[in-house]
């Protein structure tokens, strides 16, 4: 399945985030985050744990409600978090994107197929036959046709995450969000998932990926943003940012990741 017909020409910004702020109590997690992604492009977000990168991603899907700043999804909605957003605004924002979670978060009481069709059937109310056919096609594509009637607990982590990705694709979002999609996987299962995400990038899906896999980020992303202490410290082309970081904090972070001992 290819991305939904673009309402924004390739290369024009699809997602634009300006001055995003978020605090939990007195803990200011996001100070002022600016991000943008062009249609058909991939943005990778890297940064130390606790830097706010996951919170920033969750704000894009309305799972966290930002305290300030604006999120614009071109041609669909602009939400200014200066005032508390309405439910309708949040759901408009949510309708444009779909998220893949670190811990998959599949519905354990539903089979792989049921997990995938739940959103399109129940929320989007699309016709059963069409939704089912599309889900089966997607399962086949990720090599899990024989698992369609299997419950999540019988699937490996890698299989669960591929179902998680298919569940997101089936919603036909314009923007795919990945929250450390391989962090919970056994090392030997990481490859399949990363390969799948790479294929999606080649197909032209617009994606924001929070990741620790630098090599992967270099291969798949058009732009890498380094977030630390709640702000985007540096962003740029992956080759440039990962090989020749300009900012001292970026240099420190990369050094620590590359030479942990």
């Amino acid at each position: 399945m290819s991305p939904t017909e673009p309402t924004v020409p390739a290369g024009a910004p699809l997602l634009d985030v300006v001055g995003l702020r978020k605090s939990f109590g007195s803990n200011e997690v996001l100070r002022s985050v600016d991000l943008s992604v062009a249609a058909g492009q991939v943005l990778a977000i890297i940064g130390p744990s606790g830097s706010g990168k996951t919170t920033a991603l969750r704000c894009l899907n309305g799972l966290e409600v930002a305290d300030g700043g604006t999120i614009t999804i071109e041609g669909a909605s602009t939400v200014d978090f200066g005032v508390p957003p309405s439910k309708a605004q949040l759901s408009a924002l949510r309708d444009e994107s779909a998220m893949v979670f670190q811990h998959y978060n599949l519905f354990p009481h539903k089979t792989a197929l049921q997990n995938i069709v739940e959103g399109p059937r129940i929320v989007q109310r699309r016709p059963e036959a069409e939704v089912r056919a599309e889900a089966l096609e997607l399962l086949e594509r990720v090599g899990l046709s024989d698992k369609r009637d299997t419950y999540p607990f019988e699937l490996s982590g890698g299989q669960q995450q591929r179902v998680g990705i298919v569940r997101a694709l089936a919603l036909r979002p314009r923007l795919l969000l990945f929250d450390e999609p391989t962090s919970a996987l056994d090392p030997e299962l990481v490859g399949d998932v990363l390969t799948l995400i790479k294929e999606l990038a080649v197909e032209g899906w617009t994606m924001v990926i929070v990741t620790h896999e630098l090599q992967f980020a270099r291969e798949v992303a058009h732009e890498v943003a380094f977030i630390d202490a709640g702000t985007v410290v540096e962003r740029g082309h992956p080759d440039q940012l990962l090989r020749d970081p300009q900012h001292e904090r970026t240099q420190q972070f990369l050094r620590r990741l590359l030479h942990p001992f």
Binding site: F101, L106, G119, V123, E154
Partner: protein
């Protein structure tokens, strides 16, 4: 046991079972079903972020759990008439048991809802569900699995507690046993017989619980 005792045991079996089937069991089932509806409402109130909503539920649960069921029954049946509210025995028993089960089961359901990982809510919201749809399709089915054992306990207790309805003139299993015992003066025999029938009902319920648990466990690792 001599011959006349055996005869009495056998001859009273029929009226006791009739009382169990026409009163004890329907009383328990109706009160339990209504009680569960009330409990779900109370559990959701308890989980509300509005302090007065959760406060009302908290006080209700505290009162129900902090007072004897027998006292609750008497307040409704013997107390309310003095302020002009007269309810006949059957509706009165159903009302009292429903209110009681509601208070107890509310805490079970609340705990079961809280036991569902937060990621399940998030995944439900992510695919575009509203809170009520998420609750209905994603959260409650998972909470149901967790709450079967404690709710079975509540139900089994309720079956036995229906014997208290005998004190507000409902002719259920125990009151029937009392009647035959008074008539025959065979107290030991009749009360043991009544106890056996309660036990039998609870054995059937326990096996039903086991089967329900197996059914709901089909999607979790063993």
């Amino acid at each position: 046991m001599d011959e006349t005792s055996v005869e009495l045991f056998v001859s009273s079996l029929r009226p006791l079972i009739v009382a169990a089937v026409t009163a004890t069991i329907p009383l328990a089932v109706i009160s339990f079903v209504l009680g569960l509806v009330l409990a779900l409402v109370l559990a959701l109130m308890r989980l509300s972020s509005r302090p007065w909503v959760s406060g009302v539920a908290r006080v209700y649960i505290s009162v129900i759990r902090g007072t004897p069921l027998l006292v609750q029954l008497f307040v409704i049946f013997y107390g309310l008439p003095s302020i002009g509210v007269v309810i006949s025995p059957w509706p009165c028993a159903i009302l009292a048991f429903t209110l009681n089960v509601g208070g107890y089961a509310a805490e079970v359901i609340r705990a079961a809802i809280l036991s569902v990982p937060k990621g399940q809510w998030e995944a439900a919201y992510m695919i575009g569900m509203s809170r009520s749809t998420a609750l209905k399709r994603i959260i409650l089915p998972q909470a149901a699995r967790v709450s079967v054992p404690p709710l079975s306990n509540t139900f089994i207790s309720l079956v036995k507690d229906t014997s208290l309805a005998s004190l507000i003139l409902v002719t259920e299993l125990f009151r029937e046993a009392q009647r035959i015992a008074a008539f025959s003066q065979e107290f030991m025999l009749l009360y043991v017989e009544a106890a056996l029938i309660y036990w039998l009902i609870c054995l059937v319920l326990s096996s039903g619980q086991g089967r329900l648990e197996t059914r709901l466990d089909r999607y979790v690792a063993h």
